[in-house]
Subunit: 524 residues, 2 copies
């Protein structure tokens, strides 16, 4: 297995692209094999020896090209393993051949249109997953899917919105949705099931069995996605109910699966998903880290968006707060990365103690009570963008400490299981938009992630979207995913006494054992 | 390669059927592989090690079965080579699982509904190919397909009529068209192209190249055939523009491809198609034999149907004619097999000479003239079913002699090419409805087919329909067709001086060299 160099994402090497230009040799009386078979044969070599089959739509557009008398034609294929389907054939032209990468999130869906010939990103759009109308979280939607017509409704909601948003995106690029020939979708196992119309009923019941693991390549039309008539969609496989295609896409885009050194990949969220390994082995686990890390608990919490506090600095002497908000306007709330920054700064300014408790003496002038719970006024109403005090309570802090302790314990347990120390990790990859905004120094300060040299931390951004993009641009990527899936060992996180001991020790800031965090200067 | 014993057509051995009953082992915490993959894995062994993929429709019907709590379910698959698609899954039941075999003829289309579990024939129906409205013969339709919208119109005509007629057939069996999951179609290369919507333009232009050779398995819906949502259709491949899937179906149903001895298969028609070979090799050719053999030239010629003369006896002493008509009513015309019988009887009664010329002295009382051409009154108006004289003219006789001579020459040339004498042929198989009606003694008498022991002649009936039926009942049949196709050598019939010499020698009754036909007693 060789690596997909990160820079190739922007410029697909033609030898690995799904779009190939070939010429059909003219038939003779000695060899009058049919045109379809001549074309498929001709494509075998540029497609790396794959067996080529033919969609009827491609067959129907072949005669018009043959009539032009020009032998060369541009062919678009899509498929897996030793096989590929020829889905489009046309005369040589310069129009982009768009493919659609989909990050199918529970909350947000992101679409990216790429030129499958040049690898160029043509445009992106994101929108709320419309299934949110039915149920905000996975569990609510799985229950809804069990009601009469529920599954079909949920499937219809997502396929229609992807179609509509992709159509608008294509139009903004001077294209039509009917130009889209290939689609790649990465989502968690539940979202993938709802896209496929596969019943997720058993996913949440012991022994937590998905309906399908590897959907592979399907006709878009069979799912209700309305693109080119012959368009195919690749749906990332899952490893199990709690380890979905989004994570396989993440591993694909991290490149950790093709390196000799061991790296780690962390997807931070309500559920923390962690993978450790290299080109020879991969070990994964997932555990509840708590919504605090997403800014989802505190009353002032919000998704990253205009007015969200993303950075906080507290002067350790004057204890004055300065903020950086997304968009630069007055603050209206705080996003996940802001929460971690805030906690780290409160700790460094001596306003909270080792257990994350507010220190009234140090918080003077900012303390208030809400429902008999101590809270810190982060931004007074007079300075906020919505005319309200922005409060961060002791409950928020406790929740954050539990979440960061869970995250650290999961990381520690997984690396321990494979007999490694954190220092053995060549790279510490953080996936997700959250990972891009997070300040590793703050995350280390509160003891959420290990105290490694900053150079080892890498924010990968939207790895689901990136992984889906790679599928559209590199034929081998599909095989890599299969390989990753087969290589991965999923470790059921055993919440035993040892785990609980580790968890308790991690509930201090940064940790009961400060020697584990030498870079953190603990305030007196 | 092992033979498909002819009797297995009536009772599909479950080990070779496309319908299989399996049980999914319940998932556990140790093995919670998804249900779809559990089912596919379970099917691998009964399906002979094939890799199983899953249609989304099958996936959607799986949950309801899982909820019944009964592990066993009935699965219908269809596919080729090392692969098969699971297209339907349902609880165990006794309803027949119908498959549709289609003989896609240029003139007539025959549908047969079979139970894919038991092999039972449920019903049959035949109808005129509705493309006949557009053009009676292949050439006219190919030209029409080249006009704007012509190809789509021709495709629509045939797919709609197959859908409608199959729906009526299914209904007459207490079923619905939506019950039909698998379809197999055998037709000549042109009819197959028009069914697929594949442009036949280049088929009739040097170097006579089809658009596609091996369409394989397609979704019925993609062709406009409206059966079960996930229904698949297998379309027989062709060897070239002049050697179609109907002939491969014929070879399949003849079993000649799995015998050690060499046999011959003849499909008699406007174009005579001939295959000679055994399990190791197959050699084929086709040549114009003339429409006379189909009863298509004479004014009294008609398709086999009520009132058609199918047998003729002429008393050699009194020269009285007796007839057997289809249905037993008064004669209104003569079908192909009747024409051969008539010519043989005229020859044996001394009413025509060695060159096929009417002998006025022997034809007294029956001779007349039509447009200055000598003609024989076969049935006087007073005895015919339509109040007209039924006439057989010298032109009809000449045409028949040319046709039978062409047929014999083609047979002779092909066997000669492979270095065999007619006597080396273990079986002489005659395909087609025509083959079932023909009297081999009469055909030998006029020198149309070689003078072999009658036990070697075998009328196979509708071999296209039979071959298509085998595809529905025996999984291996698909592989046999592929094997036959790869094994076959198509010999371009070279109409050179040697051929013309042989043809001239065969234009006598039975032949210039009567020693070739020792069983024929030539009248003095």
């Amino acid at each position: 297995m060789t690596a997909i160099a990160p820079n190739t994402v922007q410029e697909a090497p033609s030898s690995q692209a799904w779009v190939q230009t070939v010429e059909i040799p003219a038939p003779t009386l000695e060899d009058n094999t049919a045109f379809a078979e001549r074309l498929c044969k001709q494509l075998e070599k540029p497609m790396g020896g794959r067996k080529i089959s033919l969609d009827m739509e491609a067959l129907r557009s072949l005669p018009a090209i043959l009539r032009t008398g020009e032998g060369a034609m541009e062919c678009t294929l899509f498929g897996q393993g030793a096989e590929a389907v020829l889905i489009d054939v046309r005369p040589l032209g310069k129009r982009p051949r768009p493919g659609l990468a989909v990050d199918l999130g529970t909350t947000r869906v992101v679409l990216r249109l790429v030129d499958m010939v040049t690898g160029q990103h043509l445009g992106e759009v994101s929108f709320d997953n419309p299934q949110g109308q039915v149920g905000p979280d996975i569990l609510a939607r799985i229950h809804y899917a069990g009601t009469a017509g529920g599954l079909e409704e949920l499937q219809g909601l997502i396929t229609q919105s992807i179609t509509q948003e992709a159509a608008a995106l294509a139009q903004s690029c001077g294209l039509s949705k009917k130009d889209i020939l290939c689609v790649a979708v990465a989502g968690n196992t539940a979202m993938t099931h709802l896209l496929l119309g596969a019943d997720p009923h058993w996913m949440i019941r012991e022994p937590y069995t998905p309906m399908i693991n590897s959907p592979g390549f399907l006709k878009c039309a069979d799912l209700g996605l309305d693109f080119a008539k012959a368009a195919r969609v690749y749906v990332f496989p899952n490893v199990g109910s709690y380890f979905g295609g989004d994570l396989l896409a993440g591993i694909l885009s991290s490149n950790m699966y093709c390196k000799e050194e061991v790296s780690i990949l962390v997807d931070v969220g309500t559920n923390a998903e962690v993978v450790v390994g290299n080109r020879d082995w991969l070990m994964a686990c997932a555990g509840a880290a708590g919504p605090a890390l997403e800014g989802g608990v505190t009353a002032m919490g919000m998704l990253a968006g205009p007015g969200a506090i993303e950075k906080v600095r507290i002067d350790p002497i004057t204890r004055d707060f300065t903020f950086q908000t997304i968009g630069g306007g007055k603050p209206v709330g705080i996003c996940g990365s802001g929460v971690i920054d805030l906690a780290a700064q409160l700790f460094l300014a001596g306003m909270i103690d080792l257990r994350g408790k507010l220190l009234p003496s140090a918080c003077q002038g900012r303390l208030t009570e809400q429902d008999e719970i101590l809270a810190l006024v982060i931004v007074p109403a007079s300075q906020s963008g919505n005319g309200h005090d922005l409060l961060f309570s002791q409950v928020d802090l406790d929740s954050l400490v539990r979440s960061k302790a869970a995250m650290y314990t999961i990381l520690r347990t997984l690396t321990n299981t494979v007999g490694l120390a954190f220092s053995d990790l060549a790279e510490f990859n953080i996936a997700g938009t959250f990972g891009s905004y997070i300040d590793p120094v703050s995350a280390i300060t509160i003891g959420m992630i290990p105290d490694l040299p900053l150079s080892r931390y890498k924010a990968l951004g939207n790895t689901s979207l990136e992984g889906a993009t790679q599928i559209l641009l590199h034929r081998q990527a599909v095989d890599y995913v299969k390989d990753i899936r087969e290589k991965i060992t999923y470790m059921e996180l055993n919440v035993n006494q040892e785990f609980m001991n580790r968890f308790s020790a991690a509930k201090f800031i940064p940790h009961t054992n400060p020697a584990l965090f030498p870079s953190v200067v603990i305030p007196r």
